[in-house]
Symmetry: C2
Subunit: 454 residues, 2 copies
């Protein structure tokens, strides 16, 4: 099949049906009426806006998250916005099915209504980037810009988003570092179509700077500051936000995810297949066979990480895994790779070159003619010189589990702050994982988890 045929096939799966559209339209209308009535009844100066992919009609079939922004006048103080905004959200949500309070820069209401998630987010009603006061204020501007510039290419955005999801490069959360929906929309607007964006995967990287709103001309200094800052941080792309020259829309896009996009785009252009959009289930295999094949060893720490949400927990787990890598390498174990995540409990997996080290290590001492040198000489049984430095032999624990236990007891592993105590209480497993981690262990050890090739 050629690109056109594949794309037609995919579109039938990602484009919402007429029934779905009607359902969404009705839902939004009802919500809008409800919000307006509530605002009026409370005598507030607030305007409701829909933002996000539903409002822009770039959502994927079946993917319905409503973002209803409650925009207050920029004249009121932040404290008041926070208080009244949450209050308003609650009053609206009372009339929906269920709701809870969620926390971002400020608290907001997350409700459910007719099976759809509805976020009721207070913000300022700003007309320009110069007035932006909170992180969410920009959303209304984003929405407006996309609606003004998309010119009916909504399905192209759907294709690109689905492609990015399929190749595991979608999502700008800090622990994902992929493409955001807004970035996908900008790329389609800039390059014209889904296929055009894919074809530009290499060009974009070389060009580096994408400036659809011409900020480098209109606000040269501000935009250049953004470019410099982001270039210094070595970001793969610098996409100057069409509604705010201070911001790189791709600030959270990591090299790994861009790399996936880069290779997969090339592959799709060469031999298109629907699997890019809808991958077959992950490969399965035995992690124990992988260990035998590679001659390596797997240490898994499993522990209770409490209630922390993923975007807080994952960076902590990553930091801790890095800490183990360093500490173990000082101890003579080579860490070939690590993998972290959360199933029932949080886990850190470490792939090691061996499970046991030699029983002695050579301990370097000070120069022999110093006070500390004479001390070292006295305290050790066998002492010898290399140049002016003394050396001695030190008996050490052999087994990696014992070594890890000792390292943790002596606080010699740099651990993520929030999970420090939990890690110290972890179960440390060697070449064995609980049932629910078996697939994860296989995907890690085989590197299928990150494999860029099919």
């Amino acid at each position: 099949m050629d690109h056109g045929e594949i794309i037609q096939g995919v579109l039938t799966r990602v484009r919402p049906t007429e029934e779905e559209r009607a359902f969404i339209e009705k839902l939004m209308n009802d919500l809008k009426t409800l919000a307006e009535e509530t605002i009026e009844s409370l005598d507030l100066d607030v305007r409701p806006y829909f933002v996000g992919s539903l409002a822009k009609d770039t959502y994927l079939a079946g993917d319905h998250d409503v973002d209803l922004f409650l925009a207050f006048s920029p004249d009121i103080p932040l404290e008041e916005l926070r208080e009244k905004g949450l209050e308003l959200g609650k009053v609206i949500a009372e009339k929906l099915d269920t709701y809870e309070i969620a926390y971002a820069e400020h608290p907001y209401v997350r409700a459910r209504y007719r099976g759809v998630s509805v976020d009721l987010v207070p913000c300022y009603d700003v007309g320009s980037w110069r007035d932006v006061r909170t992180a969410v204020d920009r959303s209304i501007l984003h929405n407006r810009w996309v609606l003004e510039n998309l010119n009916g290419r909504n399905d192209e955005v759907r294709l690109l988003k689905r492609f990015l999801k399929g190749i595991n490069a979608y999502g700008s959360e800090i622990y994902i570092r992929g493409f955001s929906g807004y970035l996908a929309e900008i790329l389609v607007i800039k390059y014209g179509s889904f296929l055009d964006v894919l074809e530009k995967a290499d060009f974009m990287l070389r060009q580096k700077i994408i400036d659809p709103a011409n900020w480098l001309k209109r606000e040269h200094e501000v935009a250049m500051k953004t470019v410099k800052r982001e270039a210094e941080a070595d970001k793969p792309l610098i996409v100057i936000d069409p509604v705010d020259p201070r911001r790189n829309v791709a600030a959270n896009l990591g090299w790994e995810k861009y790399g996936r996009f880069y290779f997969k785009a090339g592959q799709f252009m060469e031999s298109p297949r629907e699997e890019f959009f809808f991958p077959k289930g992950q490969k399965r295999g035995s992690y124990l066979s992988e260990l035998r094949r590679k001659g390596t060893h797997l240490v898994t720490l499993v522990f209770d990480a409490g209630e922390a949400v993923e975007d807080v927990l994952l960076p902590q787990l990553e930091r801790s895994a890095g800490g183990f890598e360093k500490a173990l390498s000082r101890e003579g174990f080579n860490v070939l790779g690590w993998n972290v995540g959360k199933a029932k409990k949080a886990f850190i997996m470490l792939e090691l070159d061996r499970r046991e080290r030699e029983r002695v290590r050579i301990k370097p001492g000070p120069e022999f003619f110093t006070e500390r040198g004479r001390d070292f000489y006295r305290k050790n049984e066998r002492v010898w010189l290399r140049g002016k430095r003394l050396f001695a032999e030190k008996r050490v624990k052999e087994n990696v589990i014992e070594v890890i236990t000792e390292l943790l007891e002596k606080n010699q592993v740099a651990l993520g702050k929030g999970i420090r105590e939990a890690v110290k209480e972890a179960d440390v497993l060697l070449n064995y994982v609980p049932k629910e981690l078996e697939d994860e262990a296989y995907l890690f050890l085989s590197r299928e988890k990150w494999n860029l090739k099919e």
Copy 2:
């Protein structure tokens, strides 16, 4: 026993008896007469000088090496000295028991006479360091200076030399890097007695510069140049040669040997025992038990190094061992220590942390968006990204013997030039050594070979 008693006991063993003295005196007289007659018969302008410990009466009982220097006028060219000097030596040696030609800066005759080794060395008859033309010319000056300054402390020198031999710190050869006889004599002259020298072990090191002939006053610039040069080379001691301000008598003294002297001197001052001078035979033990105790592994390369003499061969072996240490560490094996030497054949011993490594290694690749990156992607089966760099897995040999064989085949070990081909043909043994190397392997693995403690 106190120091005095120990010293008396040692003196009875190192001081030559009257009979021995008479034998030496007669020997030297006869050699002198023979040399003078030969010189006269050949009508040469040459003066014979005895130098070395026999001439200075600082030799140890039973230790008789005659150095007879044949001093030519400084007016004749070097080529003539070389030719006529060797010729003269040969004619003298014809009248001795046996002889052979030996090679240093220039060739000389090494003869045997009444069971004693006699070196007949041509040199220039110089009166001052300014006239020195060949390396051996200084010997006559050394001899004269010691005779003028020793003032009857000959036995003190004998004690010091025997002590240095006993603790394995004697000999200024490049592959030993210990104290020379001349340096021992200077130290006794400078500090007064054997015990004084030992007591100054720490002081000397801090003082750093020893200048018995006051060159820093008499020839400030020349002497300062020597001091600077040797200080930059980080020598433990700078002993400005009493007969030549350009030379550090301790230039060949290494930190390891000075360290031995440093600790042993302290120990002897604290608890004197005759064993410092005459150590009991080396400790023996099983190298296999050492390997078990330490949990390490021993790789031994045994090969035929041809006819090379020790001071050429040993540095080559050391360089090669260092080359193996580096190459193996790149391959994931940690070298805890090495030992080289020559028994029947030359050997290089390497103590390793393990005998097998994991079967795969992580291979770092280039940045993904480069030509080489796309190449790397094509050529490898599983490829993943960390940042912008590609990584892949590489299957490797596990066994250290196979790894070493492969390294040698691919010329990936930096080997001493003279033994490169021989090492490539070496037998490579794992956790096993030939009978004649068993003691050596034990002394190495237990580090008794270099142990500064008893």
